[in-house]
């Protein structure tokens, strides 16, 4: 496994006490009564979060819960940063099914709980860099996408994995506008999807993922710009050819298929050299591959990252 474990910072520097107790309370609630059995099923792996796995660097402080869940780009609920939190209440995340299609041994439609229950949840603290030039540090809960992919048994033809977001303008009022071509589609090369840093995320801050963050199921690829991580996924398709992805189709010169965080390659309209960490006023330098170069740079050996931006 490529994940290095830097020295563990004291817990008090990572999780503020309020959230710590909220999490305890939530875990406590899980243990109470028959009714919570359903809840436990609805929040796969949350109970297993005692086995935390962390990946943080020295001066990375967690972005507060209020910002992580109140400042979102999720155009399905509106283009304003506060729109997802305000509008995502209309999304129903149970029952939820995920169709697995394409170059895969057994194409099937899975109830979400059947899909994620086999995998113990881990907590991963990742930097999250938006293509707009801001960033956060988020304690995601989830499991490596690679574990799921292996279980789904893609065929030898499978070279890419495509993730499709729910398309339902009733539940997702932002889809009534034509600001993007719906449904939202994102994709990864299979080796990117198999990389141990790539996560299927079902929770954040030790709680089930709020709707505005992409409940019930999203992908997080910490070395890529945030838009690569599809949210509220209803379809996973394995393909031989590179899929067409939403932002790349919308503005091919601005958003590439790879979208690896790269301070050397500017967005055509603005610089990507620096970013504003939420909670700070001044900008800081953006790191190649968002600081995960040691883990992932080898995936792109020999590629011209200016061409494959």
């Amino acid at each position: 496994m490529l994940i290095r474990r830097p020295p563990e910072p004291p817990a008090r520097e990572i999780t503020d006490e309020q959230l710590f107790w909220n999490r305890r309370r939530f875990l406590g609630a899980l243990g109470q009564g028959v009714g919570t059995l359903a809840l436990a099923a609805a929040t796969p792996g949350i109970a297993a979060c005692a086995t935390d796995e962390k990946l943080v660097q020295g001066d990375d402080k967690l972005t507060p819960w209020e910002d992580v869940t109140g400042y979102n780009n999720f155009y399905e609920f509106g283009t304003g940063k506060g729109d997802p939190k305000a509008n995502a209440g209309s999304l129903r995340t149970r029952p939820w099914t995920v169709a697995v299609e394409g170059e895969v041994a057994k194409p099937a439609t899975y109830a979400i709980d059947d899909l994620v229950r086999p995998f113990p949840a881990v907590e991963r603290i990742y930097r999250h860099r938006c293509v707009e030039g801001w960033s956060m540090v988020v304690p995601w809960m989830g499991f490596p996408l690679g574990d799921l992919v292996r279980r789904l048994e893609p065929t030898s033809k499978a070279k890419f994995v495509e993730f499709t977001t729910l398309h339902d303008p009733v539940q997702m009022p932002g889809q009534r506008s034509g600001v993007l071509d719906w449904p939202y589609v994102e994709a990864l090369r299979l080796d990117e999807a198999m990389h141990p840093l790539t996560l299927v995320v079902t929770g954040v801050y030790g709680r089930p993922l709020p709707n505005q963050n992409g409940a019930p199921l999203r992908i997080v690829i910490p070395w890529k710009y945030g838009f690569k991580g599809g949210k509220s996924i209803v379809r996973i398709r394995f393909t031989e050819r590179q899929p067409a992805t939403t932002w790349n189709v919308a503005a091919p010169d601005e958003y590439g298929f790879y979208a690896n965080v790269n301070p050397e390659v500017d967005h055509p309209r603005w610089s990507q050299a620096r970013e504003r960490r939420v909670g700070e006023l001044f900008r800081r330098k953006t790191l190649p591959f968002n600081g995960y170069a040691a883990e992932v740079a080898s995936l792109y050996a020999g590629m011209d990252l200016r061409v494959h931006y």
Binding site: Y71, Y75, E132, V179, L180, D266, R269, R283
Partner: protein
């Protein structure tokens, strides 16, 4: 002019700044305060610019010649908000590094348009006093202040390029400025006909 008008317009124009001060003091500027300041000051500058440009057409429509006495104040508010907008950008995005600012101006049309619009506003703000109107003479003053016809499209282009995808609001401002500039063409054409009655004006007017 009805006595309450000028104080009311002043209060409306300074309200966004008052809100920013209040919100900054109480830590209420949101998750990205720098972005909040940019949006509030940028939008306010555009609104004041549109208000400035609407004085003459409104005057023509209504015959309320006292409207002209609001124009300098509203125009100066446009400059005030544009300056705050730029300072927010210079200080927090560029840490006041001249090299970094100039690089951004050269490399990104979004910054270039906004920067140019601000630079063009400077001579208009400076020459907004009665003394400067007299020194330049009405005609030259008026010609200089036609720079606003360039500033409005530059500011709008700046707004279009600054948003990622949702161009609803830039489009709204483009339409408003479009109407305000077209209005001038509309009343300029018949003015060539004989017997045109010029508007009485104490000050130069564009």
């Amino acid at each position: 002019m009805p006595p309450a008008v000028k104080p009311a317009v002043f209060a409306a124009a300074i309200a966004p700044f008052g809100w920013l001060l209040y919100a900054a003091f109480f830590g209420d500027l949101g998750t990205d305060p720098v972005e909040t300041i940019a949006q509030v000051t940028g939008t306010s500058a555009l609104v004041c610019l549109a208000a400035t440009l609407s004085i003459t057409p409104l005057r023509r429509l209504t015959g309320w010649n006292w409207l002209i006495r609001l124009r300098r104040m509203v125009g100066l508010f446009a400059f005030f908000y544009a300056l705050l907008h730029a300072l927010d950008f210079f200080v927090f995005d560029h840490s006041l590094s001249v090299a970094s600012i100039l690089e951004d101006v050269i490399e990104h049309p979004w910054v270039l348009f906004g920067f140019t619009a601000l630079l063009l506003l400077v001579p208009l703000a400076v020459t907004s006093t009665n003394g400067w109107v007299r020194r330049l003479g009405g005609r030259r003053w008026q010609r200089l202040h036609r720079l606003i016809y360039l500033i409005a499209p530059l500011a709008t282009a700046h707004y279009f390029l600054a948003v990622k995808r949702d161009v609803t609001w830039p489009t709204v401002f483009a339409l408003i400025f479009g109407v305000l500039l077209m209005a001038r063409l509309a009343y300029r054409v018949p003015s060539r006909a004989p017997g045109r009655r010029p508007l009485p004006s104490a000050e130069a007017e564009s």
